[in-house]
Amino acid sequence: MAMMTADQYEESLRQLNLVVYMFGKRVENTVDDPIIRPSMKAVAKTYQLAHRPEHEDIMTAISHLTGKKINRFTHVHQSVNDLVKKSKMGRLLGRETGCCFQRCVGMDALNALSIVTFNIDHKHGTPYHKRFNKYLEYVQENDLTCDGAMTDSKGDRSLPPHKQSDPDQYVHVVEERKDGIVVRGAKVHQTGAVNSHEIIVMPTVAMREEDRDYAISFAMPSDAERIVYIMGRQSCDTRKLEGANIDTGNVLFGGHEALVIFDNVLVPWDGVFMYKESEFASQLVESFAAYHRQSYACKVGVGDVLIGATQTVAEYNGVANASHVKDKIVEMNHLNETLYCGCIACASEGHREPSGTFNVDVLLANIHKHNVTRFPYEIARLAQDVAGGLVVTMPSEEDLRSRETGKWLKKYLKASRDVPTENRMRILRLIENLTLGTGAVSYLTESMHGAGSPQAQRIMIARRMNMAEKQRAAKKLCGIDGSE
């Protein structure tokens, strides 16, 4: 199978035997569960668009391993152009789904591992890179969705992994066997975990020799024995159970996160890509983080949706020509396109790593993500400003449908003469979704903490800001002795 269709992807998930819990109960069928299904549909979009001629130029790539056309989400970047297309793909899918489509994290894990396995082998003579390429080919040939699992539960943040009172606060090896390693621990905030065929585990912090049991990276099927998923809650999530759809805001798509437990899971050796080489943990973390910070190109696409919704509600309310409203919408565009500049810049300034994989400019990727921790909040504030308070005071769809109350809603929630009240309610609910409902999980808080919280980016910026050159230039221009 070269590339799966959206239907084939959905069917492939039905074949998995995942152990998933939500609201304290086992979810036997995740694909059709009303809370989870919109997130599956968002991933399915990554498959659907790859088959559309009008998007294949971005959505597909040629595998450097096989020469076959593959979904870009399984590609290891072979050029700056590949990196640029990745950013554009993020914007496209963010705009088409209005949410997190979950598949970038696996792509970023694959790319980071393609670099780091090569570097470990170069130093230690290990077989990881060859093993990784075999795995990559398997992922590409079967067009799999991978969950890239990095963030451990971390316990006491002031202590390294080996000093935690509970050793399971970081995923670690508990037994080495002939047929593989046994691992225990948990990964938190796992976006799209139950929509994934595979799970790729990486360490979450830089490590020393004493942490070697924690310096592990591996991949395995998401339904391997003794892996357990506990679904995260989202603001307004149970609206999806109400049957009506206006109140969900985004009536087509959504996202999800899960807590993933590794309860003494056996990982066969052919899926192990790092084993106790603790000095490479930070390289894997930083490489994955840089790619993943670039991936926040998706928020530009979601921003497109929110800006489109804001313009629409301004028109529906009859205020679109007010100068301050126009100016606010210009400001939203300014912020959104500034984000776009960052994700394109870090790709355009990319470079080749010794493995042959192309990596983004790390400083610019961090600048981009740091902007993402701020600008969507301002865009959301402006959206709520323009939309008005009805975003949070509007009665439900049930009230609109009710024989008793529907007539009053249609009368008193009507604004522009030509716009049905229902349409006004729909666009307001979409703004609610993106700024404080299920969509805000990804558009706002995930923008803050996903791929690392703001301080993580500031640390990377501090490391790479090339202060010496800036000081040299300043001293030269003001004639400080010895600077010429």
């Binding site: 001629p53 009008e54 130029d57 971005i58 450097h64 152009n81 297309k85 496209l92």
Partner: protein, 131 residues
């Protein structure tokens, strides 16, 4: 796809559509309707192509045209370009020859493409070009 003699076979190649400034698919469909009987739109992977219609969403014009060296390219960068493309294609269908104003993949375009792909490894370049 079997194409009747006298009917142009036009490979339609879109850019990826990351942030298009107009509806590329609707523009191409309209053009296809107007060319009914004179041309058929086929996949750009088709082996026998008279022309490539490159439908670009913006002036960045990033659709990868590198597989189509030596084939005439008619580009649409905005909806207004469609009428120009229509006239060229009708003329081409009528005469069976390239019109003098019909652009082909020019050397500067080749240079741009090479520049775009300058950074790729020789082995990957061989995979992409089949050479």
């Amino acid at each position: 796809m079997v194409v009747n003699r006298g009917t142009l076979s036009i490979g339609i190649k879109y850019c990826g559509g990351c942030n298009p400034l107009y509806d590329r698919v609707a523009t191409a469909k309209k053009l296809e309707q107007k060319l009914r009987g004179k041309a058929v739109f086929v996949s750009p992977d088709n082996e026998e192509l008279d022309l490539i219609l490159a439908v670009q969403g913006c002036s960045r014009a990033c659709a990868d045209l590198s597989p189509f060296q030596g084939i005439s390219i008619q580009a649409i960068l905005r909806p207004e370009d469609a009428s120009k493309a229509l006239a060229h294609i009708i003329e081409r269908a009528r005469t069976g020859r390239r019109s003098s104003s019909e652009p082909i993949l020019l050397s500067h375009v080749h240079r741009e493409m090479r520049k775009k792909n300058d950074d790729i490894s020789p082995s990957y370049a061989r995979l992409l070009t089949g050479r």
